[in-house]
């Protein structure tokens, strides 16, 4: 699939970057002329993916997170969030609703939200090496534009 535009952002796993990451994704997605609901879905999914990297990938340190945003020729948005942190031993278990290894302020619903707000969610992880989350969302072409 041809990529028509892209942006790559690198930032440390500081929780103050959660808001930045979803705002950046929303700005990039604006080229696809999305509805407010589509923009909010993208922001929510990005927030979950980046928060996972911040909370779980680097529990005691600040590490590198790279977020890639790609606009594909089928009018879809691809978001890749990559970290080089502790990794996930059992991805299937991590994707189970309500499962969390986090503290009380985590709900264990992050992957469930990503799954229900995006069309595609792929998680690749190697313990000790890091995790790559790839999400895709088609943005409807609106007539009269």
């Amino acid at each position: 699939m041809k990529v028509e535009n892209y942006v790559s952002l690198e930032f440390p796993s500081s929780s103050s970057n959660e808001g930045f990451a979803r705002a950046a994704a929303a700005c990039f997605a604006a080229q696809l002329d999305p509805t407010l609901e589509e923009i909010n879905d993208v922001k929510t999914a990005v927030s979950e993916a980046v928060t996972n990297a911040i909370v779980h990938a680097y529990p005691d340190t600040l590490g590198k997170i790279v977020m890639k945003l790609r606009l594909r020729e089928d009018h879809s948005l691809e978001i890749v969030v990559r970290d080089w942190g502790v990794g996930i031993a059992d991805v299937e278990q991590a994707r189970t609703p309500l499962f969390t290894t986090g503290s009380e302020e985590r709900s264990g619903m992050g992957f469930t939200i990503m799954e229900s707000f995006m069309d595609v969610l792929r998680v690749r992880s190697t313990p000790g090496k890091g995790t790559t989350v790839t999400m895709r969302r088609k943005i409807a072409r609106r007539s009269g534009r």
């Binding site: 979950e48 911040i54 302020e105």
Partner: protein
């Protein structure tokens, strides 16, 4: 991410505004805990009118508050939930436990 509380006759109203994500969730939980511990409210209303964004961190805040109020035998309801937050809460099935008005 502020939360402002008012109470009358052990009926607590907590207004959450701005963006509720992981970065701000802990502070909100602590403040709600403090208010609940101090007042032992018989009713807690969470007013989300000013909430501009939330993610699964909001789910955790609601679930925790709901649990704490259930333990106290008090009522808990959430009012003025914006569309974005509502979609997040519905994806988690919160409407099965929590009263949204």
């Amino acid at each position: 991410m502020p939360v402002s509380c008012t109470q009358e006759d052990r009926r607590l109203v907590a207004e959450v505004s701005g963006e509720l994500d992981h970065h701000g969730a802990k502070k909100i939980m602590e403040e709600l805990d403090r208010q609940i511990d101090t007042l032992l409210p018989r009713e807690l209303t969470l007013d989300l009118q000013g909430l501009t964004f939330t993610d699964s961190s909001g789910i955790a805040v609601l679930l925790r508050t709901w649990k704490r109020m259930s333990q106290l035998g008090g009522a808990f309801r959430v009012i003025h939930t914006p569309a974005q937050a509502s979609k997040v809460f519905q994806a988690a099935g919160l409407q099965r436990m929590i009263r949204f008005e």
